[in-house]
């Protein structure tokens, strides 16, 4: 039972029930928009459903998952996904932190600067991916043109065509796109920190490097952890960037691209759902791991 105080200091009893009534519409929407499709996908993953036959379906047990585990392309996709996620997220965090620290200072035009920094994040991914695909084109892309003119390279580089470079390009574009988001989250965290610590540090004339390591980082830990969890889970679902930038070869696919191919292109709803469910499993596993690993730290500081 919750006990709240009115401004006059009187005790008000609230039933446990009323908040459920207020939450109900929101929960309904969540269940209908997220829960139902999710359950349906999991259900389909144990069947032989196809896109043209969603009604008369047979249960086939874990057969879909067995063939998924045997598929080399799937494991390649898993590897690609984690490579992208685990390289791009740390880079975004570090760059985001630097940008957040700069934007946290008082300087003229700070508001404008904050707006400008957000631009990559506000462009829809499909659009920015297309844009980058043109810029990275090996023959008439502007990136090669500039590098050639500057004399850095002497023959054009196939940025998104070579199998090793294309994953590097995808990571770079992802970093370009998502760093502003990271910066925004971290900036919000920075602004919530108690100012007195900084003032004290200033009075004691502690160098910035030391105050960053000793004051800012420990205080920012909860924010950083939450931001990293958010981004990692987001990065594992990466789809549009890969779909547009990669050559379409299965060797460059990520998990969600793989799932889409089977679900939609091959019309194999059962198997595609199994892949989607496996992706869900990875995300669930990671978030449980993250949360339980960080729970103590989160509570201690935050």
């Amino acid at each position: 039972m919750h006990i709240n105080f009115t401004p006059l200091g009187r005790k008000v009893k609230k039933s446990n029930f009323s908040h459920w009534i207020f939450l109900a519409p929101c929960l309904m929407v969540l269940v209908l928009s997220a829960g139902w499709p999710l359950l349906r996908t999991i259900y389909f993953s144990f069947t032989d459903a196809t896109l043209d036959n969603l009604k008369e379906i047979n249960f086939i047990g874990v057969e879909n998952f067995i063939s998924l585990a045997r598929d080399q392309d799937w494991w390649q996709a898993v590897l690609n996904t984690f490579l992208i996620a685990f390289v791009s997220v740390p880079m975004e965090t570090i760059l985001g932190m630097i940008i957040a620290l700069i934007l946290h200072r008082n300087f003229r035009g700070r508001g404008l600067m904050r707006a400008i920094v957000l631009i990559p994040w506000t462009i829809p991914t499909i659009v920015s991916a297309r844009m980058w695909a043109w810029m990275l084109n090996d023959v008439y892309g502007i990136v090669n043109e500039l590098l050639l003119r500057a004399g850095v390279i002497d023959s054009p580089i196939p940025w998104i065509a070579s199998s090793s470079l294309s994953i590097v390009s995808m990571i770079l574009v992802d970093v370009w796109k998502t760093t502003p988001y990271m910066a925004l989250l971290l900036l919000a965290g920075l602004q919530g920190l108690p100012q007195d610590c900084f003032e004290a540090a200033e009075v004691d004339s502690i160098p910035f490097g030391k105050s960053f390591v000793k004051i800012i980082l420990p205080l920012m830990k909860p924010t950083i952890i939450v931001a990293v969890i958010f981004r990692t889970l987001d990065a594992i679902r990466i789809f549009d960037l890969v779909y547009i930038l990669s050559s379409g070869n299965s060797a460059n696919a990520t998990m969600s691209v793989y799932a889409r191919k089977h679900l939609v292109d091959y019309a194999d709803v059962g198997f595609g759902s199994a892949a989607a469910t496996a992706l869900l499993f990875f995300i669930a596993f990671l978030s449980v791991f993250y949360v339980s690993f960080n729970r103590k730290k989160l509570y201690n500081v935050g």
């Binding site: 144990f46 036959n53 008369e56 249960f59 023959v139 008439y140 199998s163 090793s164």
Partner: protein, 462 residues
């Protein structure tokens, strides 16, 4: 003001329609973008006029990539939607979509049902279970474009074979690259090798021109000597006359290369012709087109057929009126109008009409490629065609990527990759044939429903 009037008439028409069961809004899904959108709009307006505005037409624009259109169709049709009446269908999809398409024989007069005028490869693809299910709209066929001015400048003939093409392309490439501005950008041949349907098409015609095939008489022969030779040639070309980046280029990107004057030859579809001859294009008036050449002089030229047609959805509420619109859009007159914008007629007689040819010499160039065109193995793979096509373009894309990047790549590896591809295609073929009859659900015996399901779920019951 004008827009209000327009809206008013639309509402009035909708209001009247509500009471009049005879009038309908026909929704047509087609690749209506840019120039094509104008053509389609004009045609549908003409059709509406012929009915004095009794019926109206709504155009639904499809995605650019054709495999995405197919995915969209499968979603629509499996949901039994009546939001779409007419579909623009690739002839290679008939095997996958036929169950959803309305048979059209009942709407066709004897004259209209006469298919003898269509190209033979197209003719083969319009039937399902002996009934006409699609009306051919325009033909598409892989062709080789070349720069007439560059061949003239270096005194080279129009190539008669792949071998000759390679030689000419390499020579001109080396000469043109002496210009410092073109040093890093000029290539002999533009070839779309992105892992998409288009690569299956360009691979198929290459193999065909080398005398091979992917499937022959129901047997997968993609690892035959002819195919190995064809792939060897492709790999060799990637080392010399094709840009490395082409591994991630579709036809549109390749058109950018050719249109900006940076290659001598280009493999593409006919639609590119009218776009590249627009006044603003750098290469306007300097282009010629030939069929995909044979491997050696005197062989059979080739080109993958990619014809488009119109079909009526089984779930359409107005199949009769929809069929009428589809008939109008695919009529000989409409095909003639579209041919001026390099959408090739599916009817052979238009290519012999001297009046048409006078206005549009391009049709004259295209007759030969179309006669020699080769169809994708979509009928054999039926519902699994997309899967087979993916295996094919994946394998070819991988071979090219490996050959360009890995130093250990040897020519004998090509055979290994093609053997693996053949095994995969055979597996898909096994799955496909006998052609899947609509699956009947095995109804669960009563009384043991839940337990039976759980057991079956874990694979404990048979």
């Amino acid at each position: 003001m004008k827009i209000y009037l327009k809206l008013l008439t639309v509402f009035a028409a909708a209001f009247l329609c509500f009471f009049d069961a005879n009038c309908a809004t026909i929704k047509i899904a087609c690749k209506a973008k840019g120039r094509e959108a104008e053509l389609i709009e004009k045609a549908t307006k003409e059709w509406m006029k012929s009915y004095k505005g009794e019926h109206s037409v709504e155009i639904i624009t499809l995605p650019r990539a054709s495999n995405e259109c197919l995915a969209l169709y499968l979603q629509w049709l499996s949901a039994e939607t009546f939001d779409v009446d007419i579909l623009q269908v690739d002839l290679a999809w008939i095997g996958m979509l036929a169950d959803y398409l309305h048979p059209l024989d009942e709407f066709l007069s004897e004259e209209e049902a006469d298919v003898s005028d269509y190209f033979p490869v197209i003719k083969k693809h319009i039937y399902h279970n002996g009934k006409i299910v699609v009306l051919p709209w325009y033909a598409d066929c892989g062709v080789m474009y070349y720069r007439t001015d560059l061949l003239q400048k270096y005194g080279k003939p129009v190539p008669q074979s792949w071998e000759e093409l390679h030689e000419i392309a390499l020579y001109i490439q080396n000469e043109e690259r002496k210009d410092p501005l073109k040093r890093n950008k000029f290539y002999g041949l533009g070839f779309p090798a992105k892992a998409f349907e288009e690569l299956t098409c360009s691979f198929l015609e290459l193999v065909d021109s080398f005398g091979g095939a992917i499937i022959k008489d129901g047997k997968v022969i993609v690892n035959s000597n002819e195919c190995v030779k064809a792939v060897k040639f492709l790999v060799h070309s990637f080392g010399s006359i094709i840009n490395r980046g082409a591994v991630n280029h579709s036809g549109e990107e390749i058109r950018g290369l050719f249109q900006s004057g940076n290659s001598v030859f280009m493999r593409n579809w006919p639609y590119a012709w009218s776009l590249m001859n627009e006044q603003t294009a750098e290469v306007a008036g300097k282009i010629g087109v030939i069929p995909i050449p044979p491997s050696a002089k005197g062989g059979k030229p080739s080109g993958t057929l990619g014809g488009w047609s119109l079909a009526v959805s089984k779930y359409s509420k107005h199949p009769h009126i929809s069929a009428d619109l589809a008939k109008f859009m695919t009529s000989k007159e409409q095909q003639r109008v579209r041919s001026e914008f390099s959408y090739l007629p599916a009817r052979a007689s238009l290519y012999r009409d001297s009046k048409v040819l006078e206005n549009n010499p391009f049709l004259g160039y295209m007759y030969k490629p179309l006669r020699n065109s080769v169809a994708r193995p979509s009928k054999i793979f039926g519902k699994n065609y997309q899967r087979a096509s993916t295996e094919i373009f994946n394998a070819i894309n991988t071979i090219i990527t490996e050959s360009v990047e890995s130093e250990n790549f040897q020519e004998k590896d090509i055979k290994k990759y093609l053997d693996r591809l053949a095994r995969k295609l055979n597996k898909i073929l096994e799955k496909t044939s006998p052609p899947p009859v609509s699956k009947k659900k095995v109804s669960l015996p009563k009384g043991e429903g839940f337990l039976y399901r759980i057991k079956k779920f874990f694979g404990l019951s048979n």
